[in-house]
């Protein structure tokens, strides 16, 4: 009979798992403690599954025992009645075993998929409570992997645990006992052969696992490079590097295949090893067993028991095989479990006020001696000693080179991050004392990294205000200069936006994002380089609209273009995390060399010609 190999790759592959290695992580006890909390309503199924499995296994072990008796009865020439009685017993047992088996299958399926569901849910919920600092801590792609592949791995291992981890040892023990009951001395062969298989399998696993781990890393690297190639196809083609890419890929694929073949050859021994052990047992049982039957005239062993012994030999060896597979699967899933536990044990770094303030008086913003570091370990602060007071309704422009911490400054206002020193006040109250939800509703930020979600334009706009009326949406889009192009779409406001907004241009995306923020009717509106892809004319129209229609809203505009901030009430020049100058356009032209330089670089020739 052919036995499934306990090759870790095939096993992993069969269940769609991926092998991983991570360097850091919680220790295993903690991991189990953390993950256990996600079992919840599936505890019952998780307990019942092994119970049912036990029932199934016990029956599976007794059935050959009874069939042996049946064979003996047939052999002894017993009447049909006796055979029928045994047959009836056997069918009843088969029915029972079927019942237990189906129940075990159902319960283990519910337990494992339910557990997986809860793990995904718990991780997702946890991420929703993450602060920006927590979000920065994890890469997007790694969070996605944790919620998909890693959970699938754990799910499979869990299913194996509740099913096979009980099944195999019980089967092993029972088969041993039954073999001894039936076969007496003959059963000693199992005691001899089983360890050979056990040790052989352990050796293979011990040797092959690290190799597979290494090969899988290479495999991932290869796929990453394919991904890169697809993403960079325009560059590949414009430099006509197709052949170079082919050579590079083929060399890597060759290398990978070589490693894979080596690793797989190593585990290709498992199948013959299992067969070898089985054959040794069969030969022994056949020769020694028949000697025993004949010499004892059937008193110490008879024909029926002889064939039952063969059945048990198969059961013993295959449960060893199963056990090794469980071991491999669990080992593989440990890394996944650790990665899941990392997310589940991540505490949100933002503490909410116990007695939050629930109203915001106005849109004034005050920075009092604010310093800020992204990480307490960072040597240099990103912002140092910021002293800035913005009146409600003011329009403030913020200008500065790359890395001058413009975004960091504004992110403190809606408490996306907490200050390291000093305080930020909105409407005269420290932001840390507000109800966080209220604060973020009243301080709208259009992030530099604009994101639209798949869904209609309307659905996207409603992020700003779930109850917004059509009128309000249209008004916001007019202000953001978005209504013009929306009206040109055949489905207008019902136009479907693809994931990441890939079916609208950069400028259109930015305008939709502004409209979305405007719908919040915030007291403070922050535009973080939000019009960089919008042409100057539209850019100016947006600002003009805001001045006219939301004069009471404090507007803070981060920009690259001087023209975007030129007519602001005041312009703040940031340089290396400090305020270098504050003033109106004219004042800054006078006193700020940085401002003058930027202005001139953008308007150099224009001035000469127009003048």
């Amino acid at each position: 009979m052919l036995i499934r190999p306990a090759d870790p790759f095939t096993a992993a592959e069969a269940f769609g798992m991926e092998l991983y290695c991570t360097e850091e992580g919680e220790n295993s006890v903690n991991v189990i403690r953390i993950l256990k909390q996600s079992i919840r309503e599936y505890k019952r199924a998780s307990v019942l599954a092994p119970v049912m499995v036990t029932g199934e296994v016990i029956l599976e072990c007794i059935i050959p025992f009874v069939t042996a008796r049946l064979i003996n009865e047939i052999k002894a020439g017993s009447g049909l009645q006796t055979i029928l009685i045994f047959g009836f017993f056997l069918i009843v047992m088969a029915m029972l075993s079927l019942f237990f088996g189906v129940q075990a299958g159902n319960y283990s399926a519910s337990a494992s998929t339910g557990f997986a569901k809860n793990l995904r849910k718990d991780m997702y919920y946890r991420v929703q409570d993450f602060s920006f600092e927590n979000i920065d801590h994890f890469e997007t792609s790694s969070l996605v992997t944790r919620m998909t592949t890693d959970v699938t791995n754990v799910q499979m291992a869990y299913m194996m645990l509740v099913r096979l981890a009980f099944r195999s040892p019980i089967m092993l023990v029972f088969s041993f006992i039954m073999a001894f009951i039936m076969g007496g001395q003959v059963a000693w062969i199992f005691v001899l052969v089983a360890p050979i298989l056990g040790i052989g399998l352990s050796l293979l696993i011990w040797k092959a696992l690290p190799i597979f781990n290494a090969v899988f890393k290479k495999y991932d690297a290869l796929n990453d490079s394919v991904q890169e190639n697809i993403g960079g196809m325009r560059v590949v083609k414009s430099f006509t590097r197709e052949d170079y890419e082919k050579e590079k890929f083929n060399a890597r694929a060759e290398d990978l295949a070589r490693d894979f073949v080596y690793a797989e050859k190593l585990v290709s021994v498992t199948n013959p090893l299992m067969q070898f052990c089985l054959y040794v047992v069969v030969l022994f049982v056949m020769s020694f067993g028949s000697w025993l039957v004949i010499t004892s005239r059937g008193s110490r062993l008879d024909v029926g028991q002889l064939s039952a012994l063969l059945t048990y030999s198969f059961q013993i060896l295959s449960s060893l095989m199963m056990l090794s597979m469980v071991f491999v699967m669990v080992t593989i899933s440990v890394e996944s479990a650790k990665r899941i536990a990392e997310v589940l044990s991540e505490e949100s770094s933002m503490k909410e006020s116990a007695h939050p303030v629930r109203t915001i008086r106005d849109g004034s913003v005050d920075f009092d001696h604010v310093s800020f570091k992204y990480s307490p370990l960072a040597e240099r602060p990103v912002l140092s000693d910021i002293e800035l007071h913005i009146r409600s309704g003011e329009m403030i422009g913020i200008l500065g080179g790359t890395g001058s911490s413009k975004s960091s400054l504004t992110q403190l206002i809606s408490r996306l991050y907490d200050v390291t020193e000093g305080s930020v006040r909105v409407g005269g109250v420290d932001v840390r004392n507000y109800d966080l939800k209220l604060l973020r509703d009243q301080v709208a930020v259009v992030l530099q990294k604009n994101i639209l979600f798949s869904g209609s334009i309307k659905e996207n706009l409603r992020w700003g205000n779930p109850n917004a009326t059509e009128e309000e949406m249209k008004k916001a889009c007019e202000l953001a200069q978005a209504s013009e192009f929306i009206e040109l779409f055949p489905d207008r406001y019902d136009t479907h936006i693809e994931q990441g907004g890939s079916n609208v241009s950069g400028g259109q995306k930015q305008r939709l994002c502004i409209a979305r923020a405007l719908l919040k009717k915030p007291k403070v509106l922050i535009l973080d380089d939000s019009t960089s892809a919008v042409d100057t004319r539209t850019d100016a129209l947006i600002r003009k609209g805001m001045q006219e229609y939301i004069p009471d809203t404090t507007k803070i505009i981060i920009a690259q273009r001087v023209s975007s901030v030129q007519e602001a009430d005041r312009i703040v020049i940031l340089d290396k995390g400090r305020i270098a100058a504050v003033g109106t356009h004219e004042e800054l032209l006078e006193k700020s060399p940085i401002y003058r330089e930027v202005y001139e670089s953008q308007n150099r020739k224009g001035e000469e010609e127009d003048g």
């Binding site: 049909l80 997986a116 414009s238 056949m286 002889l306």
Partner: protein
């Protein structure tokens, strides 16, 4: 997102996979198949010998005469042992060879996919989601792997085992065989029902998994936006819905898969009882046996029959567990073939680009590395025409549409003389980038013509055309590797000095030398550790080292802040000197010093001229340029 549908052409695809495998390993594969068959056949035979030995025991156990039967029993045991050795050897060889065949074939499939993919037109990449293409390299290859390494050998084994067992059973007793066969028909029915349900839900599970992944990907990507908009609760609600659906189908899929084995095992058990009772009945009633061997029915036949019943049932069980994998494997293969079958870029060009030198006013091809290039046109009559590469590009009455319906460009006329700087300005979506996509033939035009140094670009060999054009794209793409390697991508045989010089020219040297390991700093994941501006500087350096006569700069400096841009301007000017340059930029300060500026609107060129001329004309350009100041 319909990634995991079943195969549309199951049999043809399976046949194609097999014919590929045979063509990859014309010798090794038959050898392996032979070993598999041998292994399977020999594994099925023991029942015969078991029967021989048992009948011997049965004959002699009452007498207890071991010496009498020992030689015969031991002879059968020996033969059995020899058969086992053969089976072991065959098993070992096939497992061993299978590793080579599986991984070797996968490698070849991968290479064919990848190599074919390099020659596909850009349109393919623009119209297919990159995730879907990637999934052929990961998911589809993985399912194919299962198909090759497990399913196909398993199918062979099952087939042989079942055939052997049926033969042996018929050899012994027709009546008993009938019972087993009827039982197996019942089993296959059950397998079809349960297994079908299982594969249905597994395919659904894959779909739901992909959907969940897509959703999580999107939300994790926009997590900061979620926070900014207090959208957490709504995000949880949406996720719960998707998560619940995934749970529903994966629970079902696993249930079906889990209960299949117990059902089969116990049908096997029940079958076992039926065979036993039936056998007993036949024995008791002394029904005349019908068999190929002509043997009478006796206990020594009934007993091995029972074992064969189990083996038979086991085999049916084996087949059933593979059904899902086969379906998924073939579906995966179908998608792999779909990628392999994509039509490559058409290239009918005959004119090639060669290095040349000038001798007595005539251009001659040379093998040595000169800085001079020429177009080489071989006429059908054997004459060869050489023409200096100058970088003269003209577009005449070009119309273009991506999908054949919506016109993106119409009646475009552009004349770029060697060394000129031509700029395109206009709103997003006006068609600026599209024009450059046409010059380097990322897309082919529908009407009009594009002339390069007097030749239609369609007569020039595609690779040579692109080699003569340097492009700096809006979305900078860097590859995993060192900074140096990334710059060298522009010219593979460039020395370190050449790369550094190019970096200096592009103004990238300054920040590179401040990186922890300078030029040897590793770049990962498209340069995530660099700022967008730094990445742009690097891609400018990469284009500079390629030193092409014509350059296209699509928003090449959009993320470099104006201060830095002013600093690198000198380098940029040096880079552009002596070349024909097409510039696309938002920032008017970038295009101001162009020889000619094309103002585009809705796929048409609405104004053209130098900056001074356009300002004087007080038209659209003037509006754009001064719009910010003169709204009223």
């Amino acid at each position: 997102m319909d990634k995991k549908r079943g195969a549309k052409h199951f049999l043809p695809t399976l046949k194609r996979v097999l014919s590929f495998l045979f063509s990859f390993y014309p010798v090794l594969l038959p050898v392996t198949i032979f070993c598999i068959l041998l292994n399977a056949a020999v594994s099925a035979i023991p029942s015969v010998f078991q029967q021989k030995i048992l009948s011997l025991i049965e004959k002699s156990w009452r007498e207890g005469n071991w010496e009498g039967v020992a030689p015969e029993i031991l002879r059968w045991v020996l033969i059995l042992g020899i058969l086992y050795l053969i089976s072991l050897a065959a098993g070992f060889i096939y497992n061993f060879l299978m590793a080579t065949i599986t991984q070797g074939s996968l490698k070849k499939f991968r290479e064919r996919m990848f190599n074919g993919m390099q020659d596909l037109p850009i349109r393919y990449f623009d119209t297919h989601s990159h995730g879907d293409i990637m999934s052929s390299y990961t998911n589809d290859i993985d399912t194919l792997r299962q198909l090759i390494s497990i399913c196909i050998p398993q199918a062979l084994v099952s087939f042989v085992t079942v055939a052997t067992i049926i033969f042996i059973m018929l050899y012994y007793s027709l009546w008993m065989s009938a019972i087993v066969l009827i039982g197996s028909v019942v089993m296959t029915r059950v397998v079809k029902k349960v297994g079908g349900g299982s594969s249905h839900y597994f395919i659904r599970q894959q779909q739901e998994l992909a959907r969940t992944e897509g959703y999580v990907q999107e939300m994790m990507n926009g997590q900061k936006v979620v926070k900014v908009f207090n959208h957490e609760e709504a995000a949880k609600r949406d996720f719960d819905r998707i998560n619940e659906e995934l749970f529903r189908v994966s629970e079902k899929a696993n249930r079906y898969a889990n209960i299949l084995m117990p059902i089969l095992a116990n049908i096997g058990n029940i079958l076992y009882v039926f065979v036993a009772v039936f056998g007993g009945l036949l024995l008791a009633l002394k029904v005349p046996n019908l068999s190929l061997s002509g043997m009478a029915l006796q206990i020594s036949i009934v007993v091995p029959f029972l074992n064969m019943t189990k083996q038979f049932a086991g085999q049916v069980g084996q087949i059933s567990t593979e059904i899902t994998s086969v379906v998924m494997g073939v579906a995966g293969a179908e998608r792999i073939f779909a990628l392999m079958d994509e039509k490559p870029e058409s290239d009918k060009g005959r004119i090639s680009l060669v290095r040349c030198e000038e001798k007595d006013g005539r251009i001659e091809e040379t093998g040595s590395r000169t800085e001079m290039w020429a177009w080489k046109k071989e006429e059908p009559d054997g004459k060869t025409e050489y023409r200096r590469l100058r970088g003269d590009v003209e577009l005449h009455g070009v119309d273009f549409s991506y999908d054949g319906r919506k016109t993106v460009l119409s009646e475009i006329n552009v004349y770029a003389r060697p060394g000129q700087k031509v700029a395109f300005v206009g709103a997003t979506g006006a068609g600026k980038t599209t024009i450059t996509n046409l010059i380097n033939r990322f897309y082919d035009i529908q009407k009009g013509e594009i002339i390069y140094d007097g030749f239609s670009i369609y007569d020039i060999r595609l690779k040579d055309l692109r080699r003569s054009l340097g492009i700096i794209l809006q979305d900078t793409v860097l590859f995993t590797g060192t900074v140096m390697e990334n710059i060298r991508y522009g010219k593979l045989d460039a020395t370190d000095e050449e790369c550094i010089a190019a970096a200096r020219l592009a103004g990238a040297d300054d920040f590179i030398t401040r990186l922890p390991k300078g030029y040897e700093t590793e770049i990962h994941g498209n340069g995530g550790n660099l700022s967008q501006g730094q990445r742009q500087l690097l891609s400018i350096a990469r284009a500079a080292v390629a030193d092409p006569p014509v350059m296209i700069m699509d928003e090449a400096t959009s993320s470099i802040d104006t201060r830095t841009e002013a600093i690198v301007q000198k380098g940029m000017d040096a880079l552009m000197a002596g070349r024909t340059v097409f510039v696309i930029a938002h920032r008017l300060s970038t295009v101001r010093n162009s020889d000619v500026i094309m103002v585009m609107d809705h796929g048409k060129i609405i104004e053209r001229g130098s900056h001074e001329e356009l300002i004087r004309a007080r038209g659209n350009y003037y509006q754009l340029y001064t719009g910010a100041f003169e709204l009223e």
